[in-house]
């Protein structure tokens, strides 16, 4: 009983709607996950309405789409806006979160279309939208090489090949296995629970310190860049000031290449081996069986 009386004000504080940034419009400080919780639940309901409305009734589909829009608006209002602008680059500083937000919305919308659309080709196009927008986000995270590689691998190779198989296997009429979904409500519930867990664990406050790279190996990236004759900037050390460590945002493709071929050489070799084995396996699997072999 005593613990209950202790816990009650905390619970009240946690679930007080006035703490929701959506309601107050105040800058978010530690109550971020409450607003996101609402967004997640509304998104799940929107998915349920849409997947049902697409085949059953048009008004339900419209309701689902507007619920999705509502979830997007709520997410947008829950996300903190920059309050103070630095004197220089103020326009691009303001523009960057907006563009990132647009990419996020586009990716979420594409993903929703992908899991809702009954025509397989439409679903594949929704997937392409989702992946291309994700590539845009990666690009804005200064992961240029991975953005390009993802675009080539997913949007190029995977989508084209899957579309090819869809055309190869697709009849003119819609099939029952395209129209019917297995237990969308249960799946939406599981995904909602997962997302709520992720949101709460991510919203934990706390500083994440930059990690020093391994200096002990002579060929590692950090050791090379600590060489006084090196043209690379010196490796980051713990205890640097924020302005100093801000220079070490991993944004250079050359740095990624160096990390790959010094610190992670064995892993890269392994990845190449796995690719080779997968190629051989795919050829062996897709071969036409000989006559008389079942």
């Amino acid at each position: 009983m005593e613990s209950l009386t202790l816990a009650w004000p905390l619970a009240q504080q946690a679930f007080d709607p006035s703490n929701l940034p959506l309601v107050t419009g105040s800058p978010i400080d530690g109550h971020f996950s409450n607003a996101m919780l609402l967004v997640i639940v509304v998104g799940a309901v929107a998915y349920w309405c849409l997947q049902r409305g697409v085949v059953r009734s048009k008004p339900l589909a419209i309701a689902g789409a507007s619920l999705f829009g509502l979830a997007c608006v709520m997410a947008f209002s829950a996300i903190p806006k920059p309050t103070t602008f630095p004197a220089e680059n103020s326009f691009s500083d303001y523009l960057e979160p907006v563009v990132k937000m647009c990419f996020c919305l586009l990716a979420a919308g594409g993903g929703l279309g992908f899991i809702v659309a009954r025509e397989p080709v439409h679903a594949a196009l929704g997937f392409a939208t989702c992946v291309l927008s994700t590539c845009g986000i990666l690009f804005m995270q200064h992961a240029y090489f991975i953005a390009a590689a993802t675009m080539i691998v997913y949007a190029g190779a995977t989508i084209i090949i899957f579309l090819f198989v869809l055309m190869f296997a697709q009849q003119t009429k819609l099939r029952i296995y395209d129209v019917e979904l297995t237990r969308p409500a249960v799946a939406a519930f599981i995904a909602t629970a997962l997302l709520i867990t992720i949101t709460y664990s991510v919203s934990d406050e706390g500083e994440i310190l930059p990690t020093k790279m391994d200096l002990t190996r002579s060929r590692s990236l950090a050791a090379i860049s600590n060489d006084p004759e090196s043209v690379l900037p010196p490796a980051m050390q713990p205890g640097m000031s924020p302005s100093e460590s801000a220079k070490f945002v991993p944004s250079k493709t050359s740095g990624l290449g160096r990390a790959m071929y010094t610190d992670y050489l064995l892993a890269i070799e392994l990845a190449g081996t796995v690719l080779l084995v997968a190629t051989i396996g795919a050829i062996a699997l897709a071969q036409k069986p000989e006559e008389g072999v079942s």
């Binding site: 990716a107 991975i146 899957f162 237990r183 799946a187 997302l195 949101t199 892993a267 036409k288 069986p289």
Partner: protein, 163 residues
């Protein structure tokens, strides 16, 4: 470094993963299931790249490249599987292959509740003759049987001697 920005993107990676999860659980077409898997992987690699930005080194990005490699391998193998399965049964429905699971399992998850408590079934015999409770033996027949029982030991010794 903008902490909230990274937080948003981590949650967005979770959203991508959840979308892929829903797609994988609900879709019945094999190709769309594999596309859902790719969505989940792209959510994971987005998270890895955001972690790389938070920790300010390249470890996360290298791991994301690994994820990309495995995704490409998986797509190739999955495609070969779909093609060779399609040759045997010209359908993309996964339920067409549910005999690969345990064949004694019921097809729909609804019937699982019936499976959880098995009803014991005993073999039933066809009833023969008269029910002794509803048809008691007439007294004359009873007396005849008693007489036969009393003579049984002598017969029994004869049978044993003959043997």
């Amino acid at each position: 470094m903008n902490h909230f920005d990274s937080q948003n993107l981590l949650i967005f990676g979770g959203v991508l993963f959840a979308i892929g999860l829903i797609g994988f659980l609900t879709r019945r077409s094999m190709i769309l299931m594999f596309l859902s898997l790719e969505t989940m992987l792209s959510g994971v690699s987005l998270n890895l790249i955001v972690f790389s930005k938070i920790h300010q080194n390249y470890q996360g990005q290298v791991l994301a490249i690994m994820v990309l490699t495995i995704a490409a391998c998986e797509a190739a193998i999955a495609l070969a599987f779909v093609v060779s399965l399609y040759r045997r049964k010209p359908t993309l429905d996964v339920l067409a292959w549910d005999e690969l699971s345990e064949t004694i399992m019921p097809k729909m998850p609804d019937a699982l509740s019936d499976m959880s408590e098995p009803h014991e079934q005993y073999p039933t015999l066809t009833p023969a003759g008269l029910d002794p409770l509803s048809h008691p033996m007439p007294p004359s027949l009873d007396a005849a049987m008693n007489q036969q029982n009393s003579t049984t030991p002598a017969n029994a010794t004869e049978v044993v001697q003959r043997a």
